[in-house]
Symmetry: C2
Subunit: 488 residues, 2 copies
């Protein structure tokens, strides 16, 4: 099974597709650009969703649900927003099919044309701010801290499972505030939640920063982001948090009476992460044998494989181990399959990324031992049966930490300060990764660098030091380094 | 606040809309027939979803996600299915907008017409069975026990919040089996889960039965259902579980190799419940003062209101009570608002359906007491502070039980055996409810009764006794009574 996976060194792109398909995460569907998320992939996504949902709720957010469709005219109300999103989207024009008069299945009923076309939401700022107009009258109605878990559609030309699909799943937060300061604070609070989630749960180190004007969300005053580095030296934007100013409030006339009885426009934020994170998870940790899932997000953290096959004695010991593990909140399954051989099963669980595997044979039991294999390093060790649950609990924490450290070290090795354009190119074409360089702050230079090198400014780091320097391309003065990379 | 709710006796329909809107459950949106589910409503739906999800997972089901869009041609592959669902649906015909050459916002780009139209899923049998063809080869791949939580769209002409909306949220299970017997067993297993969920969590008694041919799901061999009775004597179909035979396997050519190496078509089931359950919840329990939520589904089970307003002493006692309640897994909040009066707050929490309210004043504390008000009966009693958590825990269980009993008694009083068509009409136009009557088994009679009385056959009860009788309309022989009602 595992042998069918293309090696990363041979073709990184194909390796990624192989992992996603063969580990049972997702597959292409009959609908162009839309994927099927398979049970194993969906179980990981559920764990991500549930943890993020807890973090949002702990910080006072509540969930709601807004319509899938957006009237076409709504999109035009915020000038920049329409430029960013109206281009490629799914347009509903009719509400009925009828039998083909020529007898070939069904056709669109021309009588059932909608008066105004509906757009399948690419993001929901417009429909939500149109609703907020009715919900907000006074400062007492603020803040509104609302999140929605939903599917959205953007008609992408080139798609890749999880990383860029026409339909994807995400959460989108949309908050409303009485003051600019409070909205900015919210934007940054969410950025911190995203970063904490990426690092503590996905074991994926991220840079926090702000986007350049050119890379901003259409309709935002400022777009903050978390940026991760994949194993092939390319960057992945993993989440964004937007300070929207009063743009959508003005477009949809959402005003409130402040404490002095004056009318003001409401301040807004929006923020989202999506099933794209699944792609980031795969490309941060997995290897040529298959998927590697950080223990905190693994649907099955431990599997017990009987050697060479299930029998009553092994079954009883396995039950005992499972009880002890479950008491600690660790998810575990016992492989009762009688037909496949241990070697086949081992490869299968490696492919699926199960963090810890216990191999349990009759002789092990006689010796009071069990073989413990960790997925991240593939090390095996014999461990006394007595106290194996404690051992596994510590091991899971160690694996979680090791995955983070490994990714962190990779990023450190692949982050390079450069001070000339020659060096800039050398690094990009060589080891790749993040390049810290001076930039003169103009969109013109940014686009020129992109055209020459295919690298974009991933972000202006939030905690970057001030440092006088010269733009790597134009030679003009700069006050802070920014982070470039080729990106997904 | 509560005074603005129309009384049930005056206008049941308006009462329902008032509760849904004013208790903060849902509202209409700018998109025809699509609703906004507001935070309080969504929190209740989340509790329903999470409990159902646990019940599905405990019985071996896993979640996955399939595309929002269905190629038009897929709908025509199952002959009855297309008749049932192709009629009223949202049709995507284009994938791009462009700036209006006349300068009026955006218009559909005629160049971006799709080769084949896409339908926004009204239900997912077709796209899922098209996928299963790739997933199923051998009996070893079976059963597939997959569920999906998703939004679906049916272009309903007359809509009503939660009960009938163009877009709604639901779960749809789609299972694949090697034998007919196993698929039938699955269909009934799910029906039992639905009934158990409705009765134990929603406190809503349901009849389990099978639909007549005329009321069957388009493409099913048998449709099983749970049917509830609302306070106005009308029935609500609350969930359906379909045995699909081999219809979809044949339409999408899904075959498997059985243990004897013979090719066979796969057997199928599908089953779903939706946000319609929210409407059922409202109409089963609520009263003229507002919503009533069964404790097991209440996002906030207990609220503590300081009398007349928060102070340090009350705050400390409230903290202690909250800790004791939370230790028991009971959700509770303390109302820290300084501006509103207790009477206003009481009405507000009654409107929102919070099961238990504690009124806590300085004098109560001096007397070692707290006032406990239950939402279902509106009874109040003074309870010793010492041990109040135990008291509340028992009270919540009692409320849950009382709500079920009240609904059960209502249903018993509104279930009538009739043996003549005159009686049949009298009951329907009088007290309403379920009418148990003999029917000759023909669609013709069924439709005639519907036309004459607006009553439909809700189901043929699953555990109905055999009883010889004569059809209430045609006088022809019948072997079992069926259940009629006017329905939502």
């Amino acid at each position: 099974m595992a042998k069918e996976i293309t090696a990363r060194a041979d073709d990184y792109s194909q390796w990624y597709i192989d992992i996603v398909k063969k580990a049972g995460l997702a597959d292409n569907s009959a609908v162009r650009g839309c994927m099927v998320i398979k049970p194993h992939g969906f179980a990981i996504w559920e764990n991500m969703r549930d943890q993020l949902d807890r973090m949002f709720k702990e910080t006072g957010h509540v969930n709601a649900y807004f319509p899938l469709f957006i009237p076409k005219s709504f999109l035009s109300k915020e000038a920049e927003h329409v430029e960013g999103f109206a281009k490629e989207c799914a347009v509903v024009t009719h509400h009925r099919l009828m039998n083909d008069p020529n007898g070939n299945g069904v056709v669109v009923d021309p009588e059932a044309k909608l008066e105004e076309e509906l757009i399948v939401r690419p993001t929901s700022e417009t429909i939500i701010w149109n609703t907020y107009r009715d919900w907000i009258n006074s400062y007492r109605d603020l803040p509104l801290l609302i999140n929605q878990w939903a599917n959205v559609v953007r008609w992408e030309m080139r798609t890749r499972l999880f990383l860029r699909t026409a339909e994807f799943l995400w959460q989108e937060g949309h908050t409303a505030h009485a003051t600019k300061a409070e909205a900015v604070e919210e934007t940054l609070k969410i950025l911190d939640i995203y970063a904490r989630f990426a690092e503590e749960y996905m074991a994926m180190p991220v840079l926090k920063g702000v986007k350049t004007i050119n890379e901003r969300f259409a309709g935002a005053e400022d777009t903050y982001c978390i940026e991760a580095l994949m194993q092939d030296g390319k960057a992945l934007q993993a989440g964004t948090s937007h300070f929207l100013g009063q743009n959508f409030a003005k477009a949809f006339e959402v005003k409130f009476q402040n404490e002095n009885n004056e009318e003001e426009f409401v301040w807004a934020t929006s923020w989202g992460v999506s099933t794209r994170l699944m792609g980031g998870l795969v490309m941060t940790h997995s290897d040529d044998d298959g998927l590697i899932i950080p223990p905190k997000l693994a649907p099955m953290q431990v599997v017990i494989v009987p050697i060479p096959k299930p029998n009553e004695v092994i079954g009883e010991v396995a039950e005992k181990i499972m009880r002890a593990l479950r008491d600690k909140g660790i998810s575990v399954q016992y492989d009762r399959d009688m037909t496949k051989r241990p070697g086949f099963k081992f490869a299968e669980y490696e492919l699926k990324g199960i963090p810890v595997r216990l191999g349990l044979g009759q002789r092990d039991i006689e010796n009071g031992q069990v073989e413990v294999a960790r997925r991240d390093t593939k090390e095996k060790s014999s461990v006394p049966l007595d106290g194996v649950a404690d051992y596994v609990e510590k091991l899971l924490a160690e694996i979680q930490q090791n995955l983070y450290q490994r990714a962190y070290d990779y990023r450190t090795e692949h982050t390079t300060r450069v001070d000339s354009f020659e060096e800039f190119n050398e690094v990009l074409d060589g080891k790749g990764g993040f390049v810290e360089a001076h930039w003169d702050g103009t969109t013109e230079t940014e686009l020129q660098i992109k055209e020459l090198t295919k690298a974009t400014i991933r972000c202006i780091p939030i905690d970057g030091e001030e440092e006088a320097g010269k733009c790597v391309l134009s030679g003009k003065p700069s006050k802070q380094r920014v982070v470039f990379a080729r990106a997904y």
